[in-house]
Amino acid sequence: MSASVGIVLVSHSAELAAGLRLLVEQIGSDTVPLATAGGTDDGRIGTSYDLVLAAIRSVDRGQGVVVLPDLGSSVLTARTVLEDHPHPDALIVDAPFVEGAVAAVVTAASGADLKTVADAAKEARHVHKL
């Protein structure tokens, strides 16, 4: 099977991103290229331009990259990174963090293309838990 779409989890908290990573690896797949960019460069709560940039580069296998920010400055930082380093196949997706990550990884694991993976994450907003 060819390489799949890469996923980047951007969070204010390194622990939150790392925990979500463990979760999606169990529900979805541990073969999808996945990177986390959590916390600041010195490990505090916040976001890091350099960590986000490195994460995007590390999961790019030529099939595109879906960037999932948790909220607030994660969104702003991810946007700034992609404005400074234009990448035609990297998309910031507006989705609930946990549900979007699960849907994106499961969809990417089945070999879906960038748009399908991004749509799966977006649609996570509309799926009821109860």
């Binding site: 169990q26 549900e99 699960v102 499961v106 969809t107 070999g111 109860l130």
Partner: protein, 99 residues
């Protein structure tokens, strides 16, 4: 395997329809939901999972979890298409093996 198998096959052309009901041996948790979604994506047939009065497309992992299907309840797998029989067989096995 605690499945009640009643495949209804109509071979009008090459398209067939199959279905099977599975009594869940465990709650339909996140992990089997992920397995179902990934398996469902490998078939070309249209597949449905039915639980109670709700029907979902099993390629949607969140929708499968949202069924809230619990131990002892029945989930019916339906598929229509060229690989319907295989699809139903594969998904029913995942449901029956859920822990």
């Amino acid at each position: 395997m605690s499945t009640s198998s009643e495949p209804t096959t109509t071979t009008a052309t090459t398209v067939s329809r199959h279905e099977r009901a599975v009594v869940l041996p465990a709650n339909l948790h996140a992990r089997p939901a992920g397995q179902l979604a990934r398996a469902a994506a490998t078939f070309t047939s249209a597949i449905q999972l039915e639980h109670g009065d709700r029907t979902v497309n099993p390629t949607g992992v969140l929708a499968v979890m949202g069924l809230g299907a619990t131990l002892g309840s029945t989930v019916t797998v339906r598929a229509e298409g060229p690989d319907a029989e295989q699809a139903v067989e594969t998904l029913a096995q995942i449901l029956a093996a859920a822990e």
